[in-house]
Assembly symmetry: C2
Homo-oligomer: 225 residues x 2
């Protein structure tokens, strides 16, 4: 059902275009470990103990939850400079996987908390990062109450806001990932891409590349944020 895709030409370019080491909150002020993951590599699993916090250095990561009945839900996508793994429990409720060849900076959760206790600036930045994550999750919830066209529209706007180069975005995630993030089927995603293209809202040079000619018009139509 959700089998291994291959590293194709497009995703390889994505992994590459941010290959310069991205310096984020953690890499600047902590000692930790850099880890590399292959396409689809597992970073941590649903149910594993929460011992680390992660920062994407290069590449792209998704968090995934498999429900008892087999349904798959994507919690979020994370790109260079972004933190993930911020669970408040002792067990991860989602697993994390690299979507393309990626590099991740890993620090011990306890060390980070300890350091933040004696470093006010770090504590503030951490708080800011978590507050930002709350907003993103709220936006995610907001997407899920709209029509398929609005969901995909605001999704593309959000992703474009984070990894576009000019007016074009190269999607590191598959249609299935998008479908599982937006709570619709892969067929609906595909049909909706076709509709948006025929309406000239987007262009699709190929399945993984999207061009958004008029982002402000899109924002108005799909009122993202």
């Amino acid at each position: 059902m959700h089998s291994q895709p291959r590293q194709n030409e497009v995703t390889a370019r994505i992994a590459g275009h941010r290959s310069e080491a991205h310096s984020g909150v953690l890499t600047q002020c902590m000692n930790g470990v850099r880890m590399k993951f292959q396409n689809n590599g597992s970073i941590y699993g649903q149910g594993e103990p929460v011992e680390h916090i992660y920062e994407v250095v290069r590449g792209a990561v998704r968090t995934v939850k498999i429900l008892p009945d087999g349904r798959r839900q994507i919690g979020g996508f994370y790109f260079a400079g972004e933190l993930f793994g911020l669970d408040d429990r002792n067990e991860h409720s989602f697993s994390a996987e690299a979507m393309v060849k990626s590099e991740v900076f890993v620090v011990k959760r306890k060390s980070l908390i300890n350091l933040a206790q004696h470093n006010g600036e770090l504590a503030e930045r951490l708080l800011s990062v978590t507050a930002h994550e709350i907003r993103r999750q709220q936006n995610h919830a907001l997407m899920l109450v709209k029509t398929a066209e609005e969901r995909l529209g605001s999704f593309l706007l959000e992703i474009a806001g984070r990894i576009s180069i000019g007016d074009s975005v190269e999607l590191p995630m598959s249609r299935q990932d998008i479908a599982d993030y937006l709570g619709v089927t892969i067929e609906t995603i595909s049909r909706t891409f076709t509709i948006l293209t025929s309406r000239s809202v987007i262009r699709l040079p190929n399945a993984r590349a999207v061009i958004l000619p008029d982002r402000s018009k899109l924002s108005r139509e799909f009122h993202y944020d």
Copy 2:
């Protein structure tokens, strides 16, 4: 469309049953102001500057977003001891309203951040509260990809986990609030309550009171969390 309900007998009891002052993260270690709000009173508005952080002392609060096309979305419900207003931007993206007569402890955002910078324990607790809020938002997103029956089932489980007395819950929110939280219409919520009742999954002594006779069975069926 969404007009003012009145303070009825049931919600009055809810406001009352936690009338003992609840001591949370903020009330314990900060100086701030206690504010009282009437049923449906506005605590802050969508678009207003973010200057404070709030803790429910007594009562119940909802956060609400009105989309440009008039649709209404509930971001979350907050009960005694819980924090809200944790926005990462300068403007609130949701407004906050009391659902019943409520008391709220208000502290200046800047003061809190400053204090946290020099008080490691407070910083850690704040981080824990925000991480918990992230989890709740993820759960909210998770609810929105299910069927109406599953949405209402997991919603009732979540609320029961927070404000049940024995196996019964008194809902401070209207059907419209539940509908706008779960992304379905009020008619669907009403019908689904009827279905759950006819299946003996719940009992409804009256519209605002719900009895969950077998919560563990519910958890299995609606696999909440």
